[in-house]
Symmetry: D2
Subunit: 288 residues, 4 copies
């Protein structure tokens, strides 16, 4: 029984790129973290160290910077598509490329002054295999909290149950959500803004009996509003806020004083999709 090479990929990760547009009075700032992963005819470098088919990760990094100058960086989906296509279309040995981008938000303070904003990071992951391109957009590190309108009860009781039922709790999470576009074309800016807004609005408006219910409501809200999207994937850590027992000090605690715990945390993950959504292909990862 022989030992063989299976799926593999390589690339430059976390290229930190800041792109400034200074055409007019107002400077425009784009702040990105770009990661590239490539797949293809890479058996030789694994087996013998022959690098004739290897486009060095250093070169990938150079392309990230050069493309920012040559073509600008407007919407990260568009920028990622251009990069992914470049790697596959110019290198015969590279058959698949995936470009993953985080975009950090900055709030304008003046014509050329900015403060780094904190309400979530925009993301995109673009994959191209020489004929088809897939685009996933998303948001991460978006921390949301409802201070009421959340219950949790009616769950399974077994030998290891100690949790009491509650009719009122804090529900808090750090949203990581990604949504798959049905095609690799679109109005990326509007699609992102409205998808993000739909997520937030659904979180705020859902009277929640479980974080799963909130997750599903958030995913549905995105798909209802955005026909260009086929699927939403969400990962919602349950950032527990435990009511502190103040009875030993002769105090009641009617839902007012909480301990915000670090670990452990619940982690709720789910997918919401159209029942006739096209198959995902390579949208979510390179390896097939």
């Amino acid at each position: 029984m022989a030992i063989v090479l299976g799926p593999n990929q390589y690339g430059k990760a976390e290229v930190r790129l800041v792109r400034l547009r200074r055409d007019g009075e107002l400077h425009e700032l784009t702040d990105l973290n770009v990661s590239v992963a490539l797949g293809g005819d890479l058996a030789d470098t694994h087996e013998t160290g022959d690098n004739a088919n290897v486009l060095p990760t250093d070169t990938q990094k150079n392309a990230v910077y050069a493309f920012a100058r040559e073509f600008g960086v407007n919407q990260i989906e568009e920028y990622g598509l251009r990069l992914a296509r470049h790697f596959v279309d110019t290198q015969p040995s590279i058959r698949q490329a995936r470009v993953s981008i985080e975009e950090y938000g900055w709030r304008r303070l003046g014509p050329h002054s900015f403060a780094k904003a904190g309400e979530g990071t925009r993301t995109a992951a673009v994959t191209y295999d020489g004929s088809t391109a897939w685009v996933v957009s998303g948001v991460t590190d978006l921390v949301l909290l409802n201070s009421t309108d959340s219950e949790f009860h009616g769950f399974i009781q077994d030998r290891y149950t100690t949790l009491g039922e509650t009719r009122d709790r804090i529900l808090a999470t750090a949203v990581t959500a990604s949504w798959r576009h049905a095609t690799a074309e679109g109005d990326w800016a509007t699609s992102y803004e409205e998808s993000r807004e739909a997520l937030v609005r659904a979180f705020v408006r859902t009277y929640s009996l479980s974080l799963q219910q909130t997750l599903y409501a958030m995913g549905r809200a995105v798909l209802y509003g955005r026909p260009e999207l086929a699927e939403v994937r969400l990962a919602l850590p349950n950032r527990h806020h435990f009511l502190v027992d103040l009875a030993p000090f002769g105090l009641e605690n009617p839902g007012e004083v909480f301990y915000a715990a670090d670990r452990p945390y619940g982690l709720i993950e789910g997918t919401v999709l159209r029942d006739e959504a096209p198959p995902p292909g390579l949208a979510w990862s390179l390896s097939v």
Copy 2:
């Protein structure tokens, strides 16, 4: 030559407290990280393990939560003063208390919904020694960037100089600033808001020939505007953005494409104060 115990302190660090006010339609959320440090007659516990003078850190944590319920948490300076006074005034063995607080900002999304904001964390450190109280307020993790109006030249040249002079660069930093109040009373909310605003405005408006010049302008702006303050301390990492050399690719780079470096970074630290400022006492640390 004997070996002796020198300055010492102990306490509970990083008590995560979320305080909810739900009196009316609108919930109010306060999200804190509270650290306590106590000093006093603590030789016994060090020398023999006799804990008769030790108020356990667990008890300190309980007080943090109980005070939030009994007295509420409005301004963190006021809350810290109450806690610091409590420890010293109720325990004969405790002679000094320092309460350090971080307050995380949340943006309102609805009557009882919030998104965690990211433009800096408000801080306070309150010290009390049984007769005098000192209050330091501040901000940390406030990331600011000017995309022009920053130069750096005319510096020392020596054998190890390779840096070129520049007439136009990105200036970016993550502000940590603390300002000492002349007395332990005040309108904490207004003082904080206007000090923070003065820092940001000075960063934005200063045409900078060095990060030191910007630092000094920021400190002065706070003191000019806020007569209740005696001193400002600033620590400004210089978050370098290096222009990428695109010449190998036949491209110019007229201040548009930058590499945002992690390490190393410049670190500029300085104090700005009134020349007749009262002495700091224990404002900046417990040990005298």
Copy 3:
């Protein structure tokens, strides 16, 4: 076109468990971070908030602790198997369970004294679907460096190439490796120790023309030595060490002074497997 719920899972993540065995003179310490993910009949809680099929994540956490007491924690694979089987076998609504564990190493200093060790964290991930169990073992955060015997040349040259070829460089990485067992039974301790040793030995002994070559050698070494394993997956960040140009200071730098960079970094990922390996089933993730 309807919107529907797709694959989903939930569980308690990062339960920090320290298990002490104090039967004899020598205490034994086990330090774990345990994460549980469950799948099954969970449509109701998503769609209506009906939690009748939900085993709360709090209960999962309790089971993690109780099992450590009832059955001990010897090998993490065995402990994970027991937990995963428990969730599926006792709850009709739970059809799949995945238990992921990190084990932090401690070095003995005395009969009941320990220092936390740093050369990598042992990992295991166990999945069970009611009939089949899959076991993946591994290591992460194992940082290795060869100060020579590494070259990189003969790679693709294109418009964006600036990297020079090298016949001698530092090769450094932080190994994350996971290996899939062909069956869910085995001598877990020996399998782990020898697989880890094979990885390290292959890294040390491989004269490397690319990090891919080293990766493949590492994976093969594990499979050659351990017949109970079917597949190895490796993720090797290339922790770049750049030679500092000291020529401006009149100094040569014959491979002696390096700048250790944080970002960006190369990331090399690959799979090595037996050509007749059984299919992975749910070994690598819950969703089918």
Copy 4:
């Protein structure tokens, strides 16, 4: 009342330097994180942006690398002294220099192969003011645990007490310790090794009634054994391990199953010194 500039300093922080010695068969690896802070005649750059007195932080970084080549890096105290003296002795405007160094340990795997070790990081901080040099050595991130021989009782009881007394608990901490040398000369390697060993041995051997007692024993052990040292400063977080209540599951828990908490944590800080120790001068910080 005028606003004036107070104490200030600046420098390059976190220069990551790897120094390889490859004279013979065995390569020697030194892995450092070097930070420089300078003080002196810096009013102009703050007040007007005139940088004539400023040695750029980029130049400081270059010196860090060049000195590693010109003079080697043997003991970090010696390397730091040479750098600190260089900055002050060659630049009239620079009156004080402080060089802080972290040294990461690596374990040898072969003639030119290494694994990053994890049992603590060696530190040094060297200060020079043109006539006197001060040296502080130390260790950080050294995580130690005793699984018994630790009690805590007899402490103050007040209204906010809920903690029970204990006659047997886990005592765990991450040691940060720094020790001041009486003079700026010495056998740095032996002094470090034996000081570190004294700390560990005292932690292991002390039957502890409080973490303060352990701290004091650790500090004394260093000073007893090392006459060249004048003072030891320790910061010991109390990494709480809470016994899990298994009674709800019909299980006893006789000191076997623990929850390792992240936050909050106790923080015990103290100084141990010779009663006739020379004054610290600038040993602990630049500002006087």
